[in-house]
């Protein structure tokens, strides 16, 4: 070793000049796909200046299995269990969106009791999705464990209901074209009603725990602001859009199912920041409980399946249909083209969380890396749906 310590240091480290940072030298960081806060296998290529995000490009496809091609190669009913795997938190709403589109395509009527059951199950799904989202969001912010476990305690009650009805906690595969697969017993309805009625108690407790918390407010207010014009132009839907103050809820606009029969309000945000997005979920859960109470009071015994609906050898007439519903994450749509054969000619899923990621870069620019995780958490993505 002939070199002295001084010369080694001089060789290995180029002299740091303050000018290079000022000239905008950026550090590229690949966040994900194995990052615990990316909610699955999602990757972002981030260019940083110090700790500030200057560029962000999402990278998709780690969970891509070409769901749409598989849908084109199976029968209409064959895709129904596979829709559960899109947004695996909300299989009931996925089923409903697909069933609704096929019913539009083939002109199938749905009996009254089945429509009520669909509303009940979709609102229960919304409750468990929003509750667990708030838990995840807080754990992204550093409130590791406790809020998430509180949320999962409530979610688990609803998943138990799903399991006793459909046989599976998450992969329910419950709806059919022209109705629902099984008729729930009166005991099941009584149990579900009890869970819905007790849910506001959990909400009170949870809101006390988190929403007034100084750290939560500090981490979320004025973070990831989104203007209403950009949100509409970028096709943002769901609670994220309503946090910007845009009054657009497909349950009201389209009035699919029996939603026109229920009285409920649409909460609207003001600033379009992460705090508003968080609040939208909390307020929507209370409205969902209201819908559930009305639905349990109105539901009557009757058939759950249209007897005229064909299950086997189902061939819709030649044509196309686009049906969409307000899923917990936004507008979930299915676009189907029939050529008269048992398989759809085209089977397209309009995934809300994929399209809601369009403006992720716009929301994150100028914020720190730690804020990126919070903003991403407030978008509410599930990779099964993003990558399909």
């Amino acid at each position: 070793m002939s070199a002295t310590i001084e010369t080694l240091e001089a060789m290995e480290r180029p002299p740091v000049s303050m000018a290079s940072r000022l000239q905008g030298e950026l550090l590229e960081v690949s966040m994900g796909p194995q990052h615990p806060s990316t909610h699955g296998v999602f990757r972002m290529n981030v260019a940083l200046e110090g700790e500030i995000v200057r560029k962000l490009k999402p990278v998709f496809g780690y969970l891509h299995r070409n769901h749409e091609k598989i849908g084109e190669n199976t029968s209409y009913l064959g895709s129904m269990p596979y829709t559960d795997r899109l947004d695996y938190f909300c299989s009931m709403t996925n089923n409903w969106a697909y069933a609704l589109s096929v019913e539009k395509l083939a002109g199938i009527e749905v009996p009254e009791r089945a429509e009520y059951l669909r509303v009940i199950l979709a609102e229960l799904t919304r409750l468990q999705n929003h509750a667990s989202l708030l838990g995840f969001l807080l754990s992204d912010m550093g409130a590791w464990g406790t809020p998430l476990m509180y949320a999962f305690r409530e979610r688990e009650k609803i998943l138990d209901l799903f399991e006793s009805l459909a046989g599976s906690r998450m992969m329910c595969d419950y709806m059919r074209f022209g109705g629902c697969r099984v008729d729930p017993s009166d005991e099941w309805l009584a149990q579900a009603k009890q869970i819905a009625e007790r849910f506001p108690k959990f909400l009170d407790e949870f809101e006390d725990l988190i929403l007034g918390n100084e750290i939560v407010i500090g981490r979320t207010q004025n973070v990831g602001k989104l203007s209403a014009e950009l949100a509409v132009n970028a096709g943002i839907t769901g609670p994220m859009l309503r946090a910007c103050g845009v009054n657009y809820d497909i349950r009201k606009v389209d009035g699919y199912g029996f939603y026109p029969r229920f009285k409920f309000r649409i909460p609207l945000g003001e600033h379009g920041d992460t705090y508003d997005r968080l609040m939208m979920r909390a307020l929507e859960m209370r409205e969902s409980v209201q819908i559930l109470k009305q639905a349990f009071a109105q539901v009557q015994p009757g058939p759950v399946m249209n007897p005229k609906a064909k299950i086997r050898a189902f061939r819709p007439p030649v044509g196309e249909a686009y049906g969409h519903i307000e899923a917990p994450k936004g507008e979930l749509g299915f676009y189907l083209i029939s050529d008269g054969s048992p398989n759809p000619y085209r089977y397209r899923v309009r995934p809300p969380s994929f399209i809601n990621l369009t403006i992720l870069e716009d929301m994150c620019l100028g914020h720190t890396v730690a804020d990126v995780m919070v903003i991403l958490g407030s978008v509410d993505i599930v990779m099964g749906e993003v990558d399909r």
Binding site: K104, V232, G235, Y322
Partner: protein
């Protein structure tokens, strides 16, 4: 906790009929060729087939026009239509052995295949829709080019990239047209109807029976790695 308002307005406008929209576009965009595509399904969702040359002007009109104000482009998707042969039967009178006879002639018309992009447009301001707009490429090989609507509706950005990725439609004017779901080195377009998957995506074939069978046609057998046949014999002896 801040105070949050609730929506008070539940009203929505009834949209004009598709024929009215068509005639209004033709008046606003001179030279535009628009065709209404019928839909035999009970959904009754008819669509507008617009020509590629005036597509951006038509889209801008749909977006800006105060009565329509289609500010929300919900769904963008591609469709692959292969070459089709349509059989037509016509009755022709011909002279056979001095007598006039009616003969049924079948003529075959070949419709070349094309790729299609479909846009489902809604209005968040007026809360109506959908207006379905479709564009067709010239063919399925060289002329798969369409104008991009991303400058008008940002929501088309990722969805047009997805169509480019899976169908191979090149959207002209798209700010960042790259593959999105498949990896960058991937060559074919998987959602096309005539797509055939390669034997193996990885260098080594994945151990599924069907994949292994196919891969045997390309690789020399490696019993020491793949098969137990070579090991079974000595054990017996």
């Amino acid at each position: 906790m801040g105070s949050f308002d609730f929506a008070r307005d539940d009203s929505f406008f009834v949209m004009e009929s598709l024929d009215q929209i068509k005639s209004r576009i033709e008046a606003a965009v001179p030279g535009a060729k628009i065709e209404i595509v019928q839909n035999g399904s009970p959904s009754q969702q008819r669509s507008l087939l617009i020509d590629n040359e005036h597509a951006v002007a038509i889209a801008r009109f749909l977006r800006v026009d105060p009565a329509l104000c289609l500010d929300f482009c919900s769904n963008v998707t591609g469709i692959d239509w292969l070459d089709r042969v349509v059989k037509k039967t016509t009755k022709v009178k011909t002279l056979v052995d001095g007598q006039e006879k009616e003969i049924v002639e079948t003529t075959e018309e070949k419709i070349p295949g094309y790729l299609e992009a479909v846009y489902h447009l809604y209005s968040m301001t007026h809360k109506h829709g959908p207006v379905i707009v479709r564009m067709r490429t010239a063919d399925r090989a060289e002329g798969t080019r369409l104008p991009s609507f991303t400058p008008i509706w940002r929501s088309a950005e990722f969805q047009e990239r997805e169509i480019f990725d899976l169908y191979g439609i090149h959207f002209e004017g798209h700010p960042d047209l790259r593959r999105i779901l498949m990896w960058d080195e991937f060559e074919d377009y998987p959602m096309r109807k005539d797509y055939r998957e390669p034997d193996d995506y990885e260098w080594e074939p994945t151990p599924h029976d069907a994949v292994l069978e196919k891969a045997k046609q390309h690789y020399t057998p490696r019993p020491e790695l793949d098969g137990a046949e070579a090991i079974v014999e000595p054990l017996k002896g």
